[in-house]
């Protein structure tokens, strides 16, 4: 306890006495005084000669701000930034905006009112006020009614205040001093506990943000390069004169690895002149089997018997074990894969040249399996 006086206080037992006391103190011309009661006592505001609260204006302007914020935001999002016709409504459908406008008005108004009340009007949180932890505070927060006249009041005079309280028949009269430790306390940044707290908060925030963004939401910065700075075909750019990212090739250019097919619409010549470059071996037969099962078997069947798996949704092709196909040269079969035949389309985009020959080899294997030569036995 220091000797520096904060205020002189008096406790009273009934609400009538405190109203009387508050009036007397206010009439004496004191301005820096306060009345502390466990609950709001009717008529105290006029007894203390308090001005009407200005808080209502905060609510009014915050509420109007909330309404304007809601209307402008929704109007911009739905009418300007991404205009979209929904349910035949106009781009600024006022009736449909009313519910959210109302809700945001209420939300902004109440939160601002409360924030202003606590942090601006009351200057809370304040646990370092000299009245805390005094006998006076313990009583007024339960069942007593107190008046406290601060020493800073220009009219403060210790003897006068004492005699005033005595003349009002206060039950307890006592001084309240500043707490020296609290007055001189200065928060230190480099305090161990404080730094540990900061570190804990930082770790918690980073870990939870990382987990949430990375594992649950996949949004920036953890979107795994879903958004890239590259030019995509339909976007515009300033590099080319026509402004398009996707350019047509220079006339006469040939794609890499492209070899023109010499036997277009000439099946007989293909059969005659095309020579299978692959000697059947385990490796290319495996490739042929794989590709045949993927691309050919849905219609031709796994054993090339024309037993389609498509259950009649597409015309069944003839068996590849027929006299005719067995009599064809490798080149002739290759030609069918390249160009297609009847309802069969070309498979030149699905199969590379090597793969086509591998498939031809595999077809030969299948054919031999049903019509084996004497020498195979």
């Amino acid at each position: 306890m220091s000797e520096k006086l904060f205020s002189y206080t008096a406790l009273f037992n009934t609400p009538d006495e405190i109203i009387h006391a508050a009036k007397a103190v206010a009439d004496k011309g004191y301005t820096k005084f306060d009345v502390n009661t466990p609950y709001p006592v009717h008529g105290m505001d006029s007894a203390m000669k308090l001005k009407t609260s200005k808080l209502g204006f905060v609510t009014l302007f915050a509420g109007l701000g909330g309404a304007a914020l809601a209307l402008l935001t929704m109007g911009w999002m739905m009418g300007i930034d991404y205009p979209n016709v929904i349910g035949g409504k106009p781009f600024f459908p006022l009736p449909a905006f009313i519910p959210i406008t109302f809700e945001l008005t209420v939300l902004v108004a109440t939160l601002s009112t409360v924030a202003f009340l606590l942090f601006f009007f009351f200057k809370l949180p304040n646990n370092r006020h000299p009245l805390h932890d005094t006998n006076y505070m313990k009583n007024v927060s339960s069942d007593k009614y107190g008046v406290s006249i601060e020493a800073e009041d220009p009219k403060f005079n210790l003897e006068e205040v004492k005699s005033l309280f005595e003349s009002l028949h206060a039950s307890v009269i006592e001084p309240v001093y500043f707490d020296e430790e609290e007055v001189n306390y200065k928060p230190k940044i480099a305090d161990g506990k404080f730094l540990a707290f900061l570190a804990a908060v930082a770790i918690f925030v980073s870990v939870s943000a990382y987990t949430h963004l990375n594992y649950l939401l996949y949004i920036v910065p953890f979107n795994w390069m879903a958004e890239q700075g590259k030019l995509v075909p339909q976007s515009t750019n300033d590099i080319f004169t026509n402004g398009s990212s996707m350019q047509t090739p220079v006339e006469g250019s040939v794609a890499r690895g492209f070899i023109p097919y010499a036997f277009k619409d000439k099946p007989d010549e293909a059969g005659k002149f095309l020579v299978n470059p692959l000697i059947p071996n385990e490796q290319n037969l495996a490739v042929g089997k794989n590709k045949f099962n993927i691309y050919c078997s849905p219609c031709h069947g796994y054993l090339a018997e024309g037993d389609s798996r498509l259950r009649g949704q597409f015309p069944n092709p003839p068996s590849l074990h027929s006299e005719k196909v067995r009599g064809w040269s490798d080149g002739r079969i290759y030609h069918v894969i390249v160009e297609g035949q009847n309802v069969m389309p070309s498979y030149s985009s699905q199969l590379s040249r090597e793969e086509r020959w591998a498939v031809v080899n595999y077809i030969r294997v299948l054919q031999r399996s049903l019509n084996a030569k004497e020498s195979d036995l």
Partner: protein, 456 residues
Amino acid sequence: MGSIDYTQELSVVEGKPALRELDELISKPLDSKPDIKFYIALAVTLTMLTIGAIGLTASLYYGTGLWGNNNPVGWGFPIVNFVFWIGIGHAGTLISAILFLFRQKWRTGIARFAEGMTIFAVITAMIFPIIHTGRPWLAAIYLLPYPNQHSLWVNFTSPLLWDVFAVSTYFTVSFVFWYIGLIPDFATLRDRTSNKIKKIIYSVTSLGWRHSNRHWQNYELTYLILAGFATPLVLSVHTIVSFDFAVAILPGWHTTIFPPYFVAGAVFSGFAMVQNVLIFIRKIFNYEHIITMDTLERMNKIILLTGMLVGYAYSMEFFIAWYSGVQPEVFAFMNRAFGDYFWAYWIMFSCNVFIPQLFWFKKVRRSIPFMFVIAVLVNVGMWFERFVITVTSLSRDYLPSSWAYFKPTLTDASLLIGSFGLFFTLVLLFTKSLPVISIAEVKAVVDGSQPKHGDH
């Protein structure tokens, strides 16, 4: 009866307890160790909560296919439960805000508790639409407008989005309202306690409140402003929930009576729930003279009134269906009362309309066992009301080829049980951790607590 002097206002707190006694009584549950009854109750609610947690985990792991929702009944239990729990919350705001504006002093004893129940009910309710989105961890992306790679915004003309704003605003404002009410009580507890840790907690939560009249003046104004906002807010919330249905074009949903009908129903079920829980609270913690029989009787009168409002709405729906001459509308309502779900309809109708009529008798209004059973049945009826509205209309839509019967699954049931578990667990923890009656407000209405000849 004739001897009552009507010129004198009756006291809402029986006897004339000293203010310090009130402090002790109200803070007793916070200062004493919980007894065996508390642990038994907590064990029951935690078991229910665990059942719900298992159902929820399974739903998240395997997906919403575990629920009974089908095509065309895409809403099923989650939406029924959502509307039910949001409705439960409404009584709290009605008691704390609307009755405050009407200067009904009897609200003081029950306001804090009812507000707490509002917050817990809204927390419980919010779970359901969020898990109903299917991938709740992405719910924020679905529901909130935020600048994104697709430059898309949420649809502000959809009632489902209005719901997001209404429910989250309702929760925030209710919570702030509740906390503002708690600040002076925290200060009182701070100055009472001799426990060091409690002292720190209460010092932080009371923000250093000093019971100063310079503060009380602004505080009371704020309370009035918040009550003034909470009143239209609570009406707007169930109105917007009813828009989820009423703005759709489904027969049986597309009616203009829905907003007032939903609000009345919400107050109805909410009061029943508050009454149920208060019966236990006043008994266990000896608050019979603060939460008086008169208070309970007044609540029962409100249950009777809102029950009749709901009954009026049920009848008026049938009248309008017939009077409009719209065939699908007539079909929808005949199907409700006499179709596949006739049992649900008649459970709803008898629990909500017939049974509360017993409250016309004063003896029933003042009998604890009677009022308890009636209020339980009211909540059964109100749950079935939401079931009837959601399921009957969806299961018989315009296209007969898509009709289907909705059958809830075990997972649905576990989530419903879990929601009750969560709500009552929160209520139980609340009774042991915060003052369930507003100390400052009750002190202000005790006889002799205000100046006798205050010239204000």
